[in-house]
């Protein structure tokens, strides 16, 4: 089976992290975002993954060669000369997707959930039409484009962008399965699958929905990245509690890489991810944060709702909060206060940032 992952965008909203690595390689819960998807696809029997990329990234290519080896699958990179949107890349990869009559998966690169690929294939085969899109329930549908469908069958009636009155609370989760026949609908030019392809398929009665069970998050921006982390850790608590760290000094769901060192008299959690080789010194308090590979948090600091980028260093008695994001290799000097700071890579911070702002 095949899958195509849309990894084309620049990931601007996840800067400063995406200034160091392409978004699919940003660590989410101690694993590059893309690997969460690759591993779930492999588990569902996918043996050929096509990455639709609109920029060249040696780093991504190299990493994919490694993953091909590790997962025992084929990974192709389909390069666009110009960004082709969310549908155009399917046309560009037509040759790879159209070799047999099997359906294939398509997914956005920045969604995180308990990927339901097996169920999706099953459901899709049962209704026998051209496509199925996974939908998920949201609390505030007016912020999204919602999907209106027949409750029993899942057959889609229409899509409504940012509805002002309630029509549905289900939104497109960015996970699809299609029959190769749908490729004939797409031309090789920049096209939006959501706006230009799906409405036509729905009209013709060729598009169905399957509702996602469990959590779902688009982690394409820092605030949502942290929310997604909380959800993912909670799901680990249910399905693989042994992977979470417990014991004195740990509260709630905490994921700690075995190579990380945690000092004495710390209180870590709830909802914290600590990456490989991270050093957390004594007396540190961390909650609702991701601390990435190789970072150091010095003693007596306090962190809430932050992302500490790779190899960054947070000084002693620092307070960071309110979605402060440190890019790669940032140094925060002792005793500073960072409130919603967005710090670009390789910066050294010597002054507090009392109000949210970008530090170039």
């Amino acid at each position: 089976m095949k899958a195509l992952i849309l990894v084309g965008g620049y990931g601007t909203r996840l800067r400063p992290l995406t200034l160091s690595v392409p978004k699919p390689l940003v660590d989410f819960c101690n694993k590059p975002i893309l690997l969460h998807q690759l591993e779930a696809l492999v588990k569902a029997g996918v043996d050929h993954v096509i990455l639709a990329v609109s920029y060249m990234s040696e780093l991504l290519e190299r990493e994919m060669r490694v993953q091909e080896e590790r997962l025992g699958i084929r990974i192709s990179l389909s390069h666009e000369k110009e960004p082709l949107g969310t549908a155009g890349p399917l046309a560009l990869a037509r040759e790879l997707l159209n070799i047999d009559n099997e359906p294939f998966f398509v997914l956005n690169s920045d969604v995180i959930c308990d990927f339901p690929f097996k169920d999706l294939l099953q459901f899709h085969s049962n209704h026998g039409k051209e496509g199925t899109i996974v939908v998920t329930r949201v609390e505030e549908p007016s912020k999204y484009g919602v999907v209106v469908f027949e409750a029993d069958s899942g057959r889609i009636h229409r899509f409504v962008e940012k509805p002002q009155v309630f029509v549905s609370n289900k939104i497109n989760a960015g996970i699809y399965i299609f029959n190769p026949s749908m490729l004939s609908r797409i031309q090789l030019r920049p096209t939006s699958i959501e706006k230009e392809i799906f409405p036509v398929m729905a009209e013709e009665g060729q598009l169905y929905t399957m509702e996602l069970q469990g959590f779902w998050m688009d982690i394409g921006q820092p605030k949502d990245f942290l929310t997604g982390m909380c959800m993912y850790l909670q799901s680990l608590r249910q399905h693989a509690p042994e992977r979470l760290r417990t014991g004195p000094g740990f509260l709630g769901n905490v994921l700690v890489d075995p190579t990380a060192q945690i000092g004495e008299n710390c209180t870590i959690g709830p909802n914290v991810t600590i990456g490989a080789g991270v050093v957390v010194e004594d007396g540190v308090r961390i909650k609702r944060c991701t601390v990435m590979k190789g970072a150091r948090v010095r003693s007596h600091s306090w962190l809430e709702s932050c992302i500490v980028g790779w190899s960054s260093s947070v000084g002693q008695w620092v307070r960071m909060e309110n979605v402060t994001v440190l890019g790669e290799d940032v140094i925060v000097n002792d005793e500073l206060y960072l409130n919603g700071a967005n710090v670009l890579p390789h910066k050294s911070i010597n002054e507090s940032v009392p109000e949210p702002r970008i530090i170039m």
């Binding site: 008299n265 007396g283 308090r285 007596h300 306090w302 809430e304 008695w317 005793e335 206060y337 009392p354």
Partner: protein, 427 residues
């Protein structure tokens, strides 16, 4: 023989020092670990032939003042008395009212010191300076140099550069007059009372001529006796070959706002290297980490993993937990700082508690470090309707919960906060 008078004001003064002046008379507020006034008294007691120190003010006699006077007498082996004005008589009226007490025993000269200044108090130097002048009964004002802009917040002095005579004196002018300012520290001979007496007589006559001048708060005596040294005496004495200015290069600052108390603490702690090295904490086995100048009261209980300084004063019975950080702050007696909390540029009130990992932080209002003549600004709390970032002050018995931040805020006494606050006055 010499005497000294310290003008300590009264309860209606020191409003810029709230909420700290609710708990303790401002002159007794600890600066560098000891009551503000004690620095004056130590300096006076050091002057040879000093026989008596008189505090003049309009505070009701109170236990704290009594205890302070008692302890100071014991320590300095010198007569120290408090003389209470029946009403606020101004900076000149009080000494005139109590002139008999001051001149009894026939002192050759006496000092007058404002209580709310911080200074190296070069009192002996002022005396030698006075002796150098042909005129034996001259009066001396201690002066210092300010920058042009700030000078206008002070009493400004124009001197004769060779003789050092005061040619012109004006209090807080609205345009630039001189960058030499009045430090609020004077040396007088008893002859000063003739000059104050003349003003008093004139006030009395004025009252007979104009018996009603609008609202009359107290009796006529008060109106005649309320005399300001600066406006009523110095202005008239300027150019009369009576008043001289001794300019000092040593440290000096007013202590008007609470923020200036932190700055004054820094100046006094620095002076302790020569005057009181025993008051400076040093790095000891089993003691906390010390950076720069720190005063720790012997009764304070401090975890060895805490880190204090520079410019920190820790009062009696204070408890400081593991991994606590304190810098540029005053921690008043009985306060508790729980593990890992961080206190910067703040005054933590008596018996207050700061929870674990909380951050209590203010913005210092230090003088511009690149201008050697800059003074601390004790401006108003508000600018354009917004609270200007200031040091953070926790009044007495305030509780700060764990893990919150209190930034640039003033918390009135006896508050239990339950969340973070920034740039606010919390009633």
């Amino acid at each position: 023989m010499l005497k000294a008078v310290i003008l300590i004001g009264g309860p209606q003064k020191g409003t810029r020092f709230r909420p700290l002046s609710f708990e303790v008379p401002k002159p007794l507020f600890p600066v560098a670990g000891v009551p503000m006034l004690q620095h004056h008294i130590e300096a006076c007691a050091k002057v040879p032939n000093m026989k008596e120190i008189l505090l003049i003010g309009f505070y009701q006699p109170n236990e704290e003042l009594n205890r302070f006077l008692f302890n100071a007498q014991q320590e300095f082996k010198i007569s120290i008395r408090y003389l209470q004005e029946y009403a606020a008589l101004g900076t000149g009226g009080g000494i005139y009212h109590f002139r008999d007490q001051i001149v009894s025993g026939s002192p050759d000269a006496f000092y007058v010191l404002n209580a709310d200044v911080c200074s190296a108090f070069p009192l002996a130097e002022m005396l030698s300076f006075q002796k150098e002048h042909g005129e034996p009964n001259s009066f001396v004002i201690l002066g210092t140099t300010a920058n042009r802009k700030q000078s206008m917040n002070y009493g400004c002095i124009v001197e004769n550069e060779t003789t050092k005579e005061v040619l012109h004196y004006v209090e807080k002018p609205s345009t630039f007059v001189s960058d030499i300012i009045n430090c609020g520290i004077y040396l007088f001979t008893p002859e000063i009372f003739q000059h104050i007496g003349a003003v008093f007589q004139k006030n009395q006559q004025d009252m007979l001529l104009y018996p009603y001048d609008g609202e009359e708060p107290t009796n006529g005596w008060h109106r005649a006796e309320a005399i300001r040294l600066e406006q009523d005496i110095f202005t008239a004495l300027a150019g009369q070959d009576k008043l001289y200015v001794y300019k000092t290069l040593s440290f000096w600052s007013q202590i008007k706002s609470a923020g200036s108390a932190i700055y004054a603490s820094r100046l006094y702690l620095n002076q302790y290297h020569t005057t009181h090295p025993e008051r400076l904490a040093s790095i000891k086995e089993g003691g906390p980490k010390i950076s720069g100048n720190v005063y720790i009261h012997p009764t304070a209980n401090i975890d060895p993993t805490a880190m204090l300084g520079p410019n920190v004063s820790i009062g009696t019975g204070v408890t400081i937990g593991a991994g606590v950080r304190v810098r540029e702050s005053i921690i008043l007696h009985g306060a508790t700082l729980q593990d890992h909390c961080c206190v910067l540029n703040s005054i933590v009130g008596w018996d207050s508690t700061i929870g674990k990992w909380a951050r209590v932080e203010g913005t210092p209002s230090d003088p511009n470090p690149n201008d050697p003549f800059a003074k601390i600004d004790s401006e108003t709390l508000f600018r354009e309707g917004k609270l200007t970032p200031s040091i953070t002050i926790l009044g007495c018995n305030v509780t700060i919960p764990s893990e919150v931040i209190i930034l640039n805020s003033i918390v009135l006494p006896h508050k239990d906060l339950n969340r973070s606050f920034k740039n606010q006055i919390i009633l």
